[in-house]
């Protein structure tokens, strides 16, 4: 059986299995509610737009964003370093399968972004249907270029073609925006790998799988996950001089893990930034309610992190009981989420929040306590 088809079949099974868990999970409610609220707020925002809105800048920004942040799947496994090695020279079908698989992903990503950006464009710019189609196709191609460039190990081609397309757009030739990504695709075809760069593709697969697992872990217990680490010497040194020094072992270890893990402090900042953006878009319409939504979303992702952190734990044989570890993790999570809620509450006041800011804060606290109580 073709190796790619077999791996693809396993991937589909995984996606179907986890989709069922996710769809049935009670925690999905927060996500639904946020999406509905976001759509409503965006609609309000669109209604207030006029032709002075800088849509060209937004589309150009979308062009620049689309080739970035891709985590291509290669469906390789560590054992392939041994067992796939003899077949490496004769496995072009696998490589083409992987390329096609990733092209589909890239297209979906671009189309989703364009679904959000296009209404802006058609409401504020005088463009023909052909030009709109060209912009959509350019977005799709730029996304494909970004993803394939990672697979083929070709650097900078994504940013170069995106910059050129954005430049052409500013010059008022939307139809010509297609040219740079098309040329980039030709270049990628010329520079394509003839053999699987096994180690590079393994690293890509691990990073991509970790991202998939991270999303699934919001809904299902999925303890075996890789941890992305950032040293953050400034924050850690400051904490070492004050808080961490006095803490017990469990709070010490979770404090450091939370500060350094890509899934905790970064997550809080990322979601807080999105929350501020939503507040701005909402134009002051019940802006305080954005706070519990985004604090809830953060809690939804932070709470399952404990099980993952606890599964890779030398603490199992140290004199730290599970109850102490749990208490320490809750201690940190509660404080971080409350700080996020207070920060967002203050920002909501700046955007015109009144009584809704207070109600939002109370709701946010309730949601945090609810999610923390689920952690047992």
């Amino acid at each position: 059986m073709n190796v790619f088809r077999q791996r693809f079949g396993v991937w589909v099974e995984d996606v179907v299995k986890y989709s069922r868990y996710v769809a049935n999970g009670g925690l999905l409610f927060t996500l639904y509610f946020t999406l509905i609220y976001g759509a409503f707020v965006y609609n309000q925002f669109l209604n207030g737009l006029d032709s002075s809105f800088p849509s060209v800048w937004v589309v150009a920004l979308a062009f620049l964003v689309l080739p970035h942040g891709h985590r291509p799947r290669t469906l390789l496994q560590e054992a392939d370093q041994v067992f796939l090695l003899p077949q490496l020279g004769n496995i072009r079908a696998y490589m083409n399968g992987v390329r096609l698989f990733n092209v589909v992903f890239a297209c979906v990503r671009a189309i989703l972004l364009m679904l959000v950006v296009l209404p802006l464009l058609v409401r504020t710019l005088d463009v023909t249907s052909g030009e709109v189609l060209a912009i959509v196709l350019t977005s799709v191609l730029l996304s494909v270029v970004g993803r394939l460039a990672k697979l083929e190990g070709v650097r900078y081609i994504g940013i170069i073609s995106a910059t050129l397309s954005a430049g052409v757009l500013f010059m008022g030739w939307p139809l010509a925006t297609l040219v740079p990504p098309l040329l980039a695709l030709v270049y990628l075809h010329v520079k394509r790998n003839e053999r699987i760069p096994l180690l590079d593709w393994l690293v890509l697969e691990q990073a991509s799988k970790a991202q998939f697992n991270r999303v699934v872990s919001w809904f299902v217990d999925l303890p075996e996950m890789r941890e992305d680490v950032k040293a953050r010497p400034f924050i850690v040194n400051a904490m070492n001089r004050s808080v961490l020094k006095r803490m017990d072992a469990a709070r010490y270890v979770y404090g450091l893990r939370i500060v350094r893990s890509n899934d905790s402090l970064d997550l809080i900042f990322r979601l807080a930034l999105v929350a501020v953006l939503v507040m701005w878009l909402s134009g002051g319409w019940y802006v305080g309610f954005v706070v519990p939504l985004f604090v809830g979303l953060t809690a939804l992702q932070l709470v399952p992190l404990f099980k993952r952190l606890d599964s890779v734990s030398i603490a199992s044989w140290l004199p730290i009981t599970r109850a102490e570890r749990l208490a320490a993790y809750k201690w940190w999570t509660l404080r971080l989420l409350v700080m996020q809620a207070i920060g967002l509450g203050l920002v909501s006041l700046l955007f015109g929040g009144t009584w809704d800011a207070l109600v939002g804060l109370v709701l946010a606290y309730g949601i945090v306590r609810y999610y923390l109580a689920r952690l047992k």
Partner: protein, 245 residues
């Protein structure tokens, strides 16, 4: 220091250990010797309290896991066969965690950290994250974390895997130093090294203790001459056990 008394245990639905009894006294380095699947790691997991026994008791310096979990755990440090480190903590922070867990003062921790790191040639790596450690460095990091605690009982599971010859020699020297005030139980396959450094041996076979004693006692027990190595004694013990069955 360590008393294992009529321990029966294993995993859910699979009993691995059958009436295991042995002890490790203060000042002793005892080798836990057995084939793959003999029950060495299961025995260690029971002593660490990671598995619940079906029956029997494990006592460390007078404490059992049921009498006080924290007091019991504070008496044991452990070097696992496969290093397990937090990817988000530097080596020094791991040592600080050990210090906090085992109630060391800052001065004790600093003094032991510097001495052990120098002995294991890991001074430069104190500020590094485990993600950049080689396999041997990870193992050395686990060794540092365990030795810094100075607990009454040190349990070591296959400590030599991944270590270079210099590090093995240094580790054995540190074990000699460590056992002056403590007891060490070491599971290993490297019988030549075990023969030279262990004071006594516990032979495990299919979840049963088939022999215990010093090398001299075991040679006498199996009627072997004084030149018989631990390898010879071990093979003879296994064959004698299988003949009995």
């Amino acid at each position: 220091m360590l008393h294992v008394d009529k321990l029966n245990g294993g995993y859910i639905g699979k009993q691995v250990l059958h009436d295991i009894s042995f002890e490790v006294k203060k000042g002793e380095l005892v080798g836990l010797i057995g084939l793959n699947g003999a029950g060495k790691s299961t025995t260690i997991k029971h002593i660490l309290g990671l598995l619940d026994p079906l029956s029997g008791t494990v006592t460390v310096d007078g404490e059992t896991l049921t009498s006080s979990e924290n007091n019991y755990r504070k008496k044991i440090s452990y070097i696992p066969e496969t290093p397990i480190l937090y990817e988000t903590l530097t080596l020094r922070e791991h040592l600080t965690l050990m210090g906090k867990s085992y109630g060391l003062t800052d001065e004790q921790l600093e003094e032991r950290t510097m001495r052990l790191a120098k002995d294991m040639r890991m001074e430069k790596q104190l500020g590094w994250f485990p993600s950049v450690f080689s396999k041997g460095m990870r193992q050395k990091a686990m060794i540092l974390c365990a030795l810094v605690t100075k607990t009454p009982l040190l349990i070591v599971d296959e400590p030599f895997v991944g270590l270079d010859p210099l590090a093995i020699r240094q580790l054995l020297r540190l074990f000699d130093e460590y056992k002056e005030d403590s007891a060490i139980l070491m599971s290993t396959h490297i019988l030549e090294t075990a023969e030279r450094h262990c004071d006594r041996f516990v032979f495990l076979h299919q979840g049963v203790v088939i022999a215990t004693g010093t090398a001299i006692e075991l040679r006498q027990a199996y009627g072997l001459d004084t030149h018989a190595s631990l390898d010879d004694i071990y093979v003879e013990a296994i064959e004698a056990e299988e003949r009995k069955r």
